[in-house]
Symmetry: C2
Amino acid sequence: MDARTKILETATRLFAMQGYDSTSLSQVAKDASVSKALIFWHFETKENLFQEVVTRTIAPYSLEVDLEGLSEPEQLKKLIDLYYEFVTQNLYSVRFFLSLFLREGARPDDLFGRILELHELYRKQLGEVIERGQERGTVARDVNPPAHAALIMSALNGILVQGFVWPTPTPSPDATLAQLKATLVDTIQVQ
Amino acid sequence: MDARTKILETATRLFAMQGYDSTSLSQVAKDASVSKALIFWHFETKENLFQEVVTRTIAPYSLEVDLEGLSEPEQLKKLIDLYYEFVTQNLYSVRFFLSLFLREGARPDDLFGRILELHELYRKQLGEVIERGQERGTVARDVNPPAHAALIMSALNGILVQGFVWPTPTPSPDATLAQLKATLVDTIQVQ
DNA sequence: GTCTATATACAGATAGAC
DNA sequence: GTCTATCTGTATATAGAC
């Protein structure tokens, strides 16, 4: 691996674990086994390095979902599982971005817009699936699609955050996820 | 106001907004209109100052709830509203503690245990109210009390976090809260 | 591209006058 | 209790050899 990549990977790990301010370039240099000067040669400033890290981290985020051949309630469950899976497979960076969001004067980058946009799209997709289910008769009519979609997203995000905050949440995130699907999907299903 | 209190209040504000690392004692001193040396005279170290800030912030947290004369579903709604109200009235410190939790190597203080304990108690209380409702016939029997309580807490926390992350969430937190009560309380009610 | 050595600024913390 | 002046370490960043 070339030095530039090594620096990027080390910085990504350290920024995610410790945050921007408490990660020094001396530490990055040491962990990446390069000199501090080399970091500046490649990235000019610490801020630039951070930007590249963020860009690289967010790049693979996407939402390609195949819902072919499933009933609407099944589609909802699949979307829920995929969201949960995505988050657990990207725990470090999700945690990283969440802590950035929480800081006042957070960097007003377009990159954050991208994350919010993805989240928005997911919520919309849930709402649309509910709506289509109502048209096709697989989902109860008395459900408000956008409101119900928002509640599902909130519950998902809540499960996620509790996983961050608690060492060993009680009950487990998996159990709460199952409860979510049982309560927020199965009950609106029309047999 | 005496200088010591002035320092504490200034530090509380700055730590909450910017975090521990990116808040310098020079800035605290300047904002509080005192010398840096005075901060050290009062608090010895930056870490000590931080500890005092945390202690002071968490002190008023409590859970005195009066549920007298309400049916179990009404009790659930009241608990939900109180949690939501508490959080919105303590947004700064909730945000502060959440961002502390998200940092690896987060300070393993007993104080954090206190927050987690409060959260745990709240979840338990929800579960107990559901259970009592089942015994008294006001709540459906096919509900799993602890699991349902955990889902409600997750949804509440999700709403909270979305409020932090989004500038103007769509739909509004209030709307999602209403949806929560309609979906997770009204539907388990027995008339 | 990569290094060592250095410049510069500012952090946390101390000394000592008042 | 509160200050000014200062110490010491470490941060970001630069200069210049190889």
